[in-house]
């Protein structure tokens, strides 16, 4: 096929540009919304109801900063790989390699966690219907493989599917809130613990709650990975990302409100599926079914978006020869990074079948947190090297450098919170990235085509 073209310009395959702002929204919110359906409530267990709400809003502030920074940089560096491509152009190759790994690890672990949750959900339903001891493994494997196949077949179908199920899961939260407000629940909302036990573990409980507060929004930065597949990156990426964080702020606050009002905080802090449990407390069968489907859809959407994002990051690193160039292949019909998608399937399966859920989630959070820390100085360097007015930006975020500073401070607080509960994992993760960095610096970088990796037609940075 390649030999049949005898023109001067070489025939090239690229990812397909078919996405709009709605798909970007579906990718970002789809990855994250599962955090409203499960996981966030452990913040209530760590510090009580008030701590859960503070964590919800402080983490919301952290991610608003992330969304603003990402919108500006990604609307300018519109390439698959998202933050990896940003780091490559703005900071340097070693940072880019690390950021690429953060992305792949964060999304692959989250995909594994979602698959585990789907297995758990089906086991719960089977138990409710009288079947005990369901073998969850085939359902976990089927989830990962079928979503990988959907991603393999094309990005448009994959993210259109995500749009439908994510919108359903978001509407389900709103319907639960409206139904409870209009008295459908058999149990009234009760916020007496806010005054009776405002901070059962003191102020340290608020810091500890931050670890799981991230769960409300973790992954919204994934919108950047669609940069090379949207029709108009400078318009769609900021629009989809900012609409996404607004959606999540609404969903997170409604979720805290309904769940904290219906479920005593001691139980809420240990619930596996808080929104579904809140629906069960209402005693309304329709709400129970709605929130069960919402939980299943949110989990599926998250796994689907994670496969999309992890494969794009891996593909970009392969294309730049940071990894073997074999991974940088594009399917000639479906125009997807098919080798990267297939390669990451067994890795997700290993974590989904062989590691406990809380460890998988913690490693995902830690990788994400390392990525957010990178964003702070990446943003400062971006504005210093290419100040406003020197290159065209699709979006300019206000109040620079305040969002970057707030993000750095909140990241520091969250590291401390993670260290309180998972210090060993934090050190193990950092050690892994240090060893990987040494491998890249002393071995792999010799294979990189150094001039070709910088692709943006920007003017020379200031000071160089």
């Amino acid at each position: 096929m390649s030999n049949s073209t005898a023109t001067a310009a070489p025939e090239r395959l690229g990812l397909l540009r078919v996405l709009g702002p709605g798909h970007v929204w579906a990718l970002g919110v789809g990855i994250v919304l599962v955090g409203e359906y499960m996981g966030w409530n452990f913040s209530v267990g760590k510090g009580g109801m008030i701590a859960g709400l503070v964590a919800c809003w402080v983490a919301g502030l952290l991610y608003t900063c992330v969304a603003m920074i990402d919108s500006e940089v990604t609307s300018t560096v519109a390439a698959a790989g998202g933050q990896y491509a940003q780091a490559k152009h703005i900071v340097g190759p070693l940072m880019a390699f690390n950021v690429g790994l953060f992305l792949v690890m964060a999304y692959t672990m989250l995909e594994a966690a979602n698959a585990i949750t789907i297995g758990f959900l089906l086991d719960t339903v089977a138990s409710m219907l009288g079947h005990s001891g369901l073998n969850q493994k085939p359902f976990i494997i089927l989830t990962i493989l079928s979503l990988a196949w959907l991603n393999y077949r094309g990005v448009l179908a994959s993210l259109s599917f995500n749009f439908v199920i994510t919108a359903f899961a978001f509407v389900a939260i709103i319907l639960l809130f409206v139904a409870v407000q209009f008295g459908v629940s058999a149990v009234p909302l009760d916020f007496s613990a806010v005054t009776n036990e405002p901070l059962p573990y003191g102020w340290l409980g608020i810091v500890a709650a931050m670890h799981f507060g991230l769960w409300y929004y973790l992954g919204i930065e994934g919108t950047c990975q669609a940069a090379e597949e949207v029709r108009s990156p400078s318009r769609s990426l900021p629009f989809g990302t900012m609409a996404g964080i607004m959606t999540l702020l609404i969903a997170a606050t409604l979720t805290w409100y309904v769940c904290s009002g219906l479920i005593p905080w001691e139980y809420l802090g240990n619930s596996g599926t808080p929104l579904f449990d809140a629906a069960r407390v209402t005693g309304n069968t329709g709400l129970m079914v709605l929130l069960f489907i919402g939980t299943a859809f949110a989990t599926t959407a998250s796994a689907n978006g994670c496969i999309n994002d992890a494969s794009r990051a891996w593909f970009s690193m392969g294309r730049d020869r940071y990894l073997p160039s074999w991974f940088g292949a594009v399917h000639p019909h479906y125009r997807t990074p098919y080798r990267s998608i297939v390669f990451l399937v067994p890795i997700a399966l290993i974590f989904a079948l062989g590691a406990p859920l809380d460890q998988v989630i913690t490693f995902s959070i830690l990788s994400g947190l390392l990525g957010y820390t990178f964003m702070t100085f990446n943003m400062v360097m971006f504005r210093r090297k290419w100040p406003l007015g020197t290159i065209k930006r699709g979006y300019v975020h206000p109040w620079h450098p305040l969002p970057a500073l707030i993000l750095l401070i909140l990241c520091g607080a969250t590291y401390f919170a993670v260290f309180l509960g998972y210090g060993t994992q934090l050190i193990a993760m950092l050690s892994f990235y240090i060893i990987a960095s040494l491998w890249f610096h002393f071995w792999r970088y010799r294979f990189v085509r150094r001039g070709e990796q910088f692709t943006m037609p920007w003017p020379r940075p200031q000071g160089y």
């Binding site: 079947h131 196949w149 970009s316 730049d320 594009v330 943006m456």
Partner: protein, 55 residues
């Protein structure tokens, strides 16, 4: 044996089917097309052709 046992077997079978179909397609593509073409994607082509980065 109840419905859940059948669903377990169905999930195993579907998983195997999806894996085989995906791997076969990958093998077919890799053996049909030149690797140079498959790995010919380049970052930033949109930037070069459509965006000017000038004010």
């Amino acid at each position: 044996m109840d419905i859940w046992n059948y669903l377990e077997y169905a999930a195993w079978a579907l998983s195997a089917l999806v894996a085989v179909v995906m791997l076969l397609d990958m093998f077919r593509i890799d053996t049909t097309y030149d690797n140079e073409l498959l790995t010919s994607s380049r970052e930033g082509e949109l930037e070069l052709t459509q965006e000017r980065h000038e004010l």
